[in-house]
Assembly symmetry: C2
Homo-oligomer: 197 residues x 2
């Protein structure tokens, strides 16, 4: 096998969910397509990583130098804040059409054994932001895991003294199922059935 | 969704076997990895399409300017020639370890309705090459499809008058299953049980 082919297959195998056979199929497909389509493909990926960044306020993905489609959008309702682990989770929540408020990306969940405490996540910023924006309800949409639930309770304890209602999306999702891979209907139901913490 | 993210997801969705959710997962993974790992990934793909080409004799993938690992390899047995549809099929046959001869990539199979006649494939070159190399046996390892079988019979009719034995790999493979996705053992058996045409 030519070394360039071996290296390309190895690079493709680093992608999430990509086995060796799929990686080989895709490598062969690139050879068949040739130089220009492959360069266009690479340009799309390069533009992605060079121009997409996290909003400094909410953590949602945005184009560098452009307004945030949530924070800077006058059509969004500003009294509720949805907490997610990762920016990609926002698309899963948005697809339901059930939530019109603002977002706050934590960057993970509390996990003391992995060294993830409140300071490692955007939890201090959450408190400051919830006060500054005079948020009335915080919806915790962390993944339905032990750590996600613990994170929800931590946030509830932190914000309830400030008079903020803290809710948790209903676990219409199976425990351990990742939010950004769940069915839109299940996420939709879990938003409607959210419970006060 | 930032336009760069949308374009990257669309580019990823053009890869074979890639659905929208997998494409989104991979796009988010690239953002998380950042600029340098993404550039390394793109460099591997660019090197692949810029430096890997088909051998002008057998059609196998090789590095441009380098010798062919089959045609220019003195350890290969030179009396038998294995015919495959695509260069990627060669890896599937090589994995079995059952064949030590040379290869000939057709570039497809005969399919008159799709305008694929012998001249559109490397069939004239096959005849010339089999004579020049004084091949004793040609093994047709086209995919087990109606067109693959018809192509085998066409090649048999062409080469038998020249005193060349033409065989077809046994259909230990299910009809319609693609060669480069089959289990190595099934390909192995189909090489051992090949039948004379």
């Amino acid at each position: 096998m030519p070394p360039e082919l071996l290296l390309a297959i190895e690079a493709l195998q680093t992608l999430p969910g990509m086995g060796r056979r799929s990686a080989m199929r895709i490598a062969f497909d690139f050879i068949r397509k040739g130089v220009n389509p492959t360069k266009n493909f690479c340009n799309a990926l390069t533009a992605l990583v060079e121009h997409v960044c996290a909003c400094e306020h909410c953590g949602a993905y945005k184009t560098q130098g452009q307004p945030c489609s949530f924070c800077d959008n006058p059509k969004r309702e500003t009294k509720s804040l949805c907490i997610v682990e990762n920016p990609s989770d926002i698309f899963a929540v948005e697809n339901t059409g059930e939530f019109r408020g603002l977002y706050h990306v934590l960057g993970g969940v509390l996990s003391p054994l992995d060294g993830m405490g409140p300071e490692e996540l955007k939890i201090p910023q959450l408190k400051a932001r919830a006060q500054e924006l005079q948020i009335e309800e915080v919806i915790v949409a962390a993944n339905p895991s032990v750590e996600g639930n613990a994170t929800g309770h931590y946030i509830a304890e932190m914000l309830k003294p400030l008079g903020i209602k803290v809710t948790r999306i209903a676990t219409g999702l199976a425990l351990g199922q990742a939010l950004d891979y769940a069915e839109t209907q299940a996420i939709s139901q879990s938003l409607r059935l959210r419970v006060t913490l």
